[in-house]
Point group: C2
Chain length 364, copies 2
């Protein structure tokens, strides 16, 4: 049996080993119920404390104000792309309303494209001109906008917003899939936040939506029941069977975060890990970061050599050394180290050591 | 620590303990990869064999013909309720097309209601007149029907179809959430079968869709990308991150089924378990089955006393004896024993023993 590897996947990715060990220990009998969490009726007294705990921990760690609902849904961020305009922008009379998107990468662009089916989308700014290697200035919203959408951390290219755009009274919506709980974020500045679980929260198959209550309203009849925030909010994420086991794992991950010292300590570690890697990249004669310094992600760190053969060799040799999933996204190539909350500092140090050896061997 | 209970929940429900033990053993390091399946990138060489295996096992055990696609989706059967009409019945010109539904219970009725947003629904028969306690004769389809929908096993009331309706050239669609792989079913007689995983397949959060390839086609632009069979089929259920861990557990459950002797042996056991319980009910002076004999489910067996206080006492005392989740669905009351594939014969015998004792104590 191999030992555990350092997994730099962009998601699904590493989970804290303490969480996995606890899940394994509780697998056939959780909390003395004589059942696995996978086997529990979602409407039973055994499961209720589990979903309530996950929500309470998320509220505590993110400091979510009381006038926001927390929903545990399915379908990933990709299903939020249509749900957001369907719930926030569609009128009974069918008139398309205005929304603003900022294009900072592939996912931001997909979100805007899906929204254009249901709303009049204005892409107010884009960093596509420089391969999404920076975050553009946020233009003011249109006064008629019903919402304004940004992608806070861009998983593929490794950028993140460092300032919350001031959209005045226009509701600000953000995809925080790849950075949720990586550092503090002022939830009260947003109207809706959403995140697929499979980076910092738990396994794939759960989507967290945090929505200000005044945005939850009845929508036109033609919109599928399962795509309505109103229904899921009213039913406490139990309109139908939720992804129970994933919600349980999220609760364990949030417990682990609190045990580590909470979000302040997690942020300290994330900054330390990212700084180690960026500092190495910035002085390397072989590797470099393609991303503008002030917009660099703490979670996803792409780097390049500029020689596709050598990059392929690097990824292959790193994997053989227990540093896996370092290939860049298939759309951009190069390398990418995703260093989410569960990646220990030792993993980043091992990567840097390996990069130094590789650089020594291949600097011409 | 309590010992394992017999869990009669309608879903999520019992899983084979051998599957849970294997999942626990592999939790921090699956197949020598140094990762949990929860941590694997869905596009990695580590995960590919896992999803391929789950599909291959499903094809083998259900004998799915080669001209059907198998999709692993999210959102439960409830998201299939709109997806089926959106993919099969919506035309570019907006003209509503005809579809037929047979109303055999709450879920059948919800499916029809959701479809009525997108199609001209004819509810051709219903057993609502007798509290859904039987399966009605299946009327012929309308010649203009684009599909014909039935709910093969009705989880809440405990009925099931015993004969596949002859719909001629009209595609037959069936919800088999609560009976998939409980006994052989001729897939070739159906155009589309769908099932939430959380009864006979695995944990909640995965939906299996088995669809004949000729029904997969481009749909109008306004339909959300995530709700299109065309997209999921083309991308091999990887348009976005699938619910990887649930798919892995499904594979383990299907391995277990094969080890037990395959579907023929599973069916034999299911018939034996259900016969034991129905035979007891039919001679009891306290309990009775409200369901017409020829339409009784093998999976969900409701029974009543006809005295709500005594029924509540039964459910409570049974739970104290390690026989849990025997309350009937909140909409119908009484009791219900769901005895899916993973419920051992010993669990049914323990239930019958307990019922006999309760009957002896409470027959006036």
């Amino acid at each position: 049996m191999n030992k555990r590897v350092y997994n730099f996947s962009a998601g699904p990715s590493m989970l804290p080993v303490a969480v996995l060990e606890r899940a394994a220990a509780e697998m056939t009998n959780a909390n003395g119920t004589g059942q696995s969490v996978m086997e529990m009726s979602h409407r039973s007294k055994d499961f209720k404390p589990i979903i309530d705990h996950a929500e309470a921990m998320l509220r505590e760690l993110m400091e979510i104000p009381g006038n926001y609902k927390v929903l545990f849904l399915q379908g990933g961020a990709s299903l939020q792309f249509p749900m957001i305009p369907l719930n926030l922008a569609v009128r009974e009379d069918g008139k398309k309303q205005k929304v603003t998107y900022v294009d900072t990468g592939v996912w931001a662009s997909k979100a805007a494209e899906e929204a254009s089916k249901y709303a009049e989308v204005r892409v107010a700014a884009s960093s596509k001109d420089k391969a999404y290697s920076y975050i553009p200035e946020a233009p003011a919203p249109d006064t008629e906008d019903v919402y304004y959408h940004i992608t806070w951390n861009n998983t593929i290219v490794g950028t993140k917003w460092n300032k919350i755009p001031n959209t005045g009274s226009v509701p600000l919506v953000a995809d925080i899939s790849s950075c949720i709980l990586s550092e503090p974020l002022d939830v009260s500045k947003f109207a809706l936040l959403y995140a697929g679980a499979q980076k910092n929260l738990g396994p794939a198959g759960v989507t967290v939506v945090i929505i200000r209550e005044d945005l939850i309203k009845k929508v036109p009849d033609w919109i599928p029941t399962m795509l309505r925030y109103e229904i899921h909010a009213k039913e406490g994420s139990m309109y139908n069977t939720p992804p129970c086991y994933g919600i349980y794992i999220i609760g364990l991950v949030l417990d682990w975060m609190k045990e580590q010292g909470g979000l302040a300590e997690i942020e300290r570690r994330n900054r330390e890990k990212a700084t180690l890697l960026y500092d190495y990249l910035d002085q390397s004669k072989l590797f470099r970061s393609p991303i503008r310094k002030e917009d660099r992600s703490l979670m996803n760190i792409p780097f390049v050599i500029g020689n596709a053969d050598l990059e392929a060799q690097f990824v292959k040799e790193a994997a053989a050394s227990g540093l896996v999933n370092l290939a860049g996204h298939r759309l951009v190539g190069g390398m990418r180290a995703s260093i989410y909350n569960a990646m220990p500092k030792e993993g980043v140090l091992a990567l840097i050591d390996f990069m130094k050896q590789f650089e020594a061997a291949h600097r011409s």
